[in-house]
Subunit: 203 residues, 2 copies
């Protein structure tokens, strides 16, 4: 049974509690810097689930397991495993019969959003989902400005595919123009479904 806070919110143990903040800056290959933003999205997903608005989950971090020990009959301990790059986006689920698929990232940049934390195979996944008529988007968080934008997948894919030719990041102005602002609050913390409704309504 999950441990819960008095307000019913699930207690989620941080993935790597003993990792120092300074470690994150050394290595760009993991997207751990987005952790608290991800936590907030997971809380919002929990709110949506409990209130029967949507069923959206974060996929577990893929690990390549190399060694497992069995000290007891019932407990298996993984003693050697390596982080793998995910082949899909982090979040997916169902909302009013629609298949929903998205990736969430944040930056401390003030004027543009770097694309380096998105992988080419994630973009391939987004394209495949679009061709199956799924709903695809990205949530981009400007941490300094405390602004979040929902950018439609087709738009984001266009930016990414032009990345090598033109630029390694997207100007904030362009995100403001093409994205839908996501309002934040107490419950849910990040109301991205409201932004999604706006987008779908205007299509």
């Amino acid at each position: 049974m999950p441990i819960r806070y008095p307000n019913g919110k699930k207690f989620i143990q941080k993935r790597i509690p003993d990792k120092k903040k300074s470690d994150y800056k050394k290595d760009d290959s993991f997207s751990n810097r987005g952790m608290s933003f991800e936590d907030d999205i997971q809380e919002s997903n929990e709110y949506y689930r409990v209130h029967e608005k949507a069923v959206i989950h974060k996929k577990p971090t893929p690990l390549q397991i190399v060694n497992v020990h069995y000290p007891h009959r019932s407990a298996a301990v993984v003693t050697e495993a390596y982080f793998q790059k995910p082949s899909t986006t982090d979040f997916n689920g169902v909302y009013k019969g629609l298949y929903i698929d998205f990736e969430a990232k944040e930056t401390r940049n003030k004027t543009s959003f770097p694309l380096k934390n998105f992988h080419a195979h994630q973009i391939e996944h987004m394209k495949s989902v679009l061709s199956q008529q799924g709903i695809v988007f990205v949530l981009l968080h400007f941490r300094i400005h405390q602004e979040i934008y929902l950018v439609p997948g087709s738009c984001f894919i266009e930016w990414f595919d032009n990345k090598d030719q033109a630029r390694k990041s997207i100007p904030k102005k362009e995100i403001e123009k093409n994205g839908i602002p996501v309002s934040t609050g107490y419950l849910p913390k990040i109301d991205y479904l409201a932004a999604l409704d706006k987008w779908l309504h205007n299509q």
Copy 2:
């Protein structure tokens, strides 16, 4: 980059290569016995994906990570982690705009399918998905008979919810009556989307 066989099929390392078959019988809390059935489904998913029929993935095994070492700047090694019970089903994705969600299990029983390998929170997840108009089902594999059935989620949930009152397993006859037979072959190995089409067509 993933390693591939000459036929383009992805090489997927077995999760616990050094675990003996006899170990599985000791502990029912992990569903490792279904591994090769799962592999076949993942190959079928890969076939569907490459042929742009559907985008369906298995979720990574959820692990609670307790310790991580950083021997080099770029390589993180997980040195202590524990298997967690998944809170959702194993497979989900999108097919012709429809949200697809299912669990796959197998048995060596000849006349009935035991329900003990399904967890209550997986059934709760199925109910939530149904309430969002998602497509939910289970794939049940009778290994001795080499027969696979697609059982609609609503039907399976009914069986599971009656479990405590009545029985711990479902008679094969009842599965034959309510399920749709899944044909197997070379490519795809397990053509569950054909069975799904039959079911959706008759609804």
